[in-house]
Every structure is written in C-alpha cells, then in structure tokens.
Amino acid sequence: MQVVSGVLCPFCGCCCDDLEVIVENNTIVDVRNACALGASKFMEYATHRNTKPLIRKNGELVETTLDEAIKQCAKILAEASYPLLYGWSNTSCEAIKVGLELAEEVGGVIDNTSTVCHGPSILAIQEVGIPGCTLGQIRHRADLIIYWGSNPWSAHPRHLERYTALSEGRFQRAAWKRYLSRLILESARKRRYRAAGRVLKGGAAALPPTEEERRMLPPPEERKLVIIDVQKTRSADLADIFIKVEPGGDYDVLQALRALIRDEELDVDRVAGVPIEELEELADLMVNCRFGIIFFGLGLTMSVGKSRNVEAAIKLTRDLNMYTKFLIMPMRGHFNVTGANIVFTWQTGYPYAVDFSHGYPRYNPGETSAIDILSRGDADAALIVASDPVSSFPRRAVENLVKMPLVVIDPCMTPTALMADVVIPSAFVGIEAEGTAYRMDHVPLPLKKIAEPPKGVLPDAEILQRILHEVREIKGVS
C-alpha cells in the first residue's frame, strides 16, 4: 500500500493540492481530504471507462488499433477546410500546447470551454481590466467575501474551507463556529414553525420571530460572508447576508450598488426584487470593510446581459477601491480552464476562439467561437479533446456537430463519443498522467501520476503529438 500525498485534484478550478491518495496494486483504494466531487473522480475513474480505440463502420462503433485511429483522425483533419478543435479545459497545459500547433497546421479554429462558461467574463476583462490577486491573499486577509451568481457549496465545495470564509487565515479567523450555530438555530426554528403550523390558527405565519431569529451581523472585526443569487442555495444557508435577485436582475442590482456607494439616493423601493434597505446595508458593508472580494459565477455570465453584467461587477469593484481594497475573481469551473486561457494566450495572443484559417491567429468571439461556428454550420470536421459538447452545447450546435466527421479523445465514453466517427481513449490527466494545471487565480501547479493507465492508453499530449506528426506526413511538411 502506498500513500501519495500532495496530490492535486483534477476536478474543479479550486485545484486543491492537499489530497492524499492510497494506492494498492495500481488501484486507488481511498482518497483523503477531497470533497464529494473530487473523491468521486478518484474512486470511480476506472469504472465505465473506455480503453479501446473505436472507429465507425456501417453506422456502428467497432474496435480498431491505435495507429489506425490516429491515421483516420489525421486524415479527417488534414482534408477538412475549416475544422474545429474544441475542449482543452480538462487536460494538461502540455497537451493544449500541442493542440494549438495542430490547429495552426490544419488551419482550423481552436476553442476551449470558456466559450460556454466565463467567455463573457474574458470579454469584460478585455474592456475594463481586472483587479485580481491570489487565493492565498484572500484566505489570510479578506474580511468581506461575496459570492455573486455562484454556488460554491455545489460547484467548488472546498472553496469556502480552503480559501475564504471557513478558512483559518493569518489575519482572519475561520467563521466555522458562527455558521454551525446558525445552522443549529435554523433547524430549531424550522422545527418550531412546523409545530406551530400544526396548532396555531394561521399556521406558522402566526408565530412572531424570536430575538435570535432576527438577523445579526457578526462584529465588525470578523469576516463576513455574503451570497447574492436568484435562489437560496446551500451556500446561502451559511451566509451572514443572503440577497435574492430576480432572474436577469443582476445588472440592475450592480448599478444600484454603484450609485449607493457614491451616496446617491435611489428613488425606488426595490431593485430587481431586492428591497433598497438590503442594498444600502450591503453598500455600507462594502465601503467599510478592509479587504473585500467578489467571486462571481455563471449566474452573471449565463444570464441576460452576460459580459455587461461582469463589466458592471468589475466597475463596482473599481469604484470601491476609492474607499477600501476590493478585488474580484471569476469562479472557474474545470480544473485547467484557466490554463487553457493562459496557454492559448501565450501561444496566439488570444485566450479562446482562435481562428487559424487565414494562416495567422484571428479572434472574434461571436464569429470564431465554437457555438457560433457550429450553429452556422461552417465547420466541416471536429476534434474534441477531454470535453463533452453533446451534453453541454445547445441543440442547433449539436445537430451540426454530429453531422460532420467527428473525432473524440477522452478517457470516458461520453455522449459525444457515442456520436463520434473515431474515438481515441486517453489517460486521465492528474491520475494516470502528469502535467501542469493553472488554478483559478492563475497559479500553476503540477498534476501527479499516481497510477498506470491501462495498456496501450496514452496521455492526451502524446496522442496529439502523433496526430500532428501524421498530419504533417499527409501534408508533406517535415
């Protein structure tokens, strides 16, 4: 039995690097320190996985050799006039680098999954910049933590515990005890309400709130947690303040806060369903904190307004810096989506949606982004690496994607692989292959190899190298 420590979790953008994995005879038997999502990845990666290269013949996917699959993939890409190379956020920076070389060689478009998550955030950042920092700084110093349109409890379960409200910083205490007592009070309140509902006329509503049920903010020197969302998520149960915004109302609330922190009067009672007193209270907290941070999620980027919502959030942060120190950071989803943006940028100058069809990199999201290319039906072949667009893209884009010659490189049989013409199984990066990943705050971290991949299964980087070599052979370039 071998205990591998300091393992990075290849799941979400938190990139927790304190995992301990117990390996016995090349099998992972236990994992410590991971959340339910990370543990599920380590414990289940080997079940239901695909280990055989497949090729479509007479409408059926049948087994083939790796050489044959690679040759077929290279042929599809080399013959296409506008291939799309998509995915990249669940693999290593080393593989992404080869992918970019391949995209240039075949004159295609290369796009990563930020196109359907934080693409609008990137557009906003390119407009107005971003005051950022590392997560370590936040852990040690932030006394006001705001999650906007993000539910870390479900999507980044250890974010609160490792980097924000529940973490023990050098200058800030963890707020565990406060949250636990709040949860106990809340469940007692629910019990009382249920009982009252059974005996009192008028039900639970007839019971006046007791003293401890009224919201009490912690003392000024203590760290505070604010959640702003369209529904009361599990993360919101922990919050000192929860603000519920009507769907699509984030932009209005952000702009209202910008006005309030400048001491302007708002002549309305509510903004997007939020009472103005709640916003005034939040504006006060923001102005009076010593170190504040807004973490924003897909609630801003996927709702109406998209990049304009993020732009307003960044501008609010900029305004707040007139009074105090305030920062803002996107909650990145896949473990190496930040790495994909970084490698794309240092190789081509652009973070996603890069078009090589003119022989040089061009970038115009809305035109050169994967969903638009697919919805218009422009691409004539696709290579999908470590991603599942059939599950994550909207209907029209998928309809066109599955019509064209489609190659998938992935360790699992995803819905996209089920619709592919060539499927090449790959090793799980961070479990069966090493590499580099960037955490959401742009800190590069090493991914470890802790188990051997099944026989004949190669890492993404190696498969892509071989495809690139084949493409060059076909094109007669050395």
Binding site: Y45, T115, V116, N151, V230, Q231, S303, S375, F393, P394
Partner: protein, 129 residues
C-alpha cells in the same frame, strides 16, 4: 404554463458525471426539473411524475421533483446535462455564449417516459451513419 428556467450545477450532477454519463445514476441526477410545490399543483403533477419542458428549439421529457430551495413560484431549475441542453437556444448575440439561465419555457404533464441517454441522442440528433 410558462416558467423561467434556470440551469446550473448540483453536487449529484458533478459526482455522477464522473461515474460516466451513460449510467442511470447520472440520468437520475440531471433528467429532473425542480419546481415549487404551488407550480406543481397548478399544472397538476406530483413528485416523480413526468413533465414535458418545451422551448422554441424543442422539447424534452424529465421527471419533476419538489424543490425545497426554490422559494418563488414561476422559477424552475434543471441541472446542466444533455437533457436540458437539447432544448436550449443557440443564439449568442455576438458574445459566443448562449443564454443558459433565465429564459422562458412551457411545461406540461406527460405520460411519455423519460428517455435514457441513448434514446435521447437518437431522438434528438438521429443515428450516425
């Protein structure tokens, strides 16, 4: 009846997608629509019944689940996954990003079964030649 649909992540969706998306557990975690009890009564469905969610781009059958979290009637939630994505609009308004949260859907009760992943792909995108 018309509702506002929100899509998003859940712990189960994250956990079971790692078990492979062709499993029943994954389907149970994402082919569900969480609704407020008042809305369920309005359209006449009970926990575990099947409903059809319709947009201008298509329709999909999922199971209905009474939500303890949704406090406002009129808003429904479906976790990210191939079921909900098969009815989402593709327009990106020049941003590269379709609107995946907060758009209108129509919901009605149905006796049709919830398709498994293979049936869903076949029904929505046809078979690959």
């Amino acid at each position: 009846m018309e509702f506002i649909l929100i899509t998003g992540r859940t712990i189960d969706q994250g956990k079971f997608k790692e078990h492979a998306k062709i499993t029943e557990k994954y389907m149970e975690s994402v082919a569900v629509c969480e609704m407020h009890i008042d809305d369920m009564m309005k359209i006449g469905v009970r926990d575990g019944d099947n409903i059809k969610v319709i947009t201008k781009d298509g329709s999909v059958v999922v199971k209905v689940k009474r939500s303890k979290r949704i406090k406002t009637p009129g808003v429904v939630f479906i976790p990210f996954g191939p079921w909900v994505n098969s009815i989402l609009p593709s327009e990106t308004e020049g941003t590269g990003m379709p609107q995946l949260k907060g758009f209108k859907v129509r919901i009605e009760p149905t006796s049709e079964p919830v398709p498994d992943i293979k049936e869903l792909l076949l029904k929505t995108y046809g078979s690959k030649k």
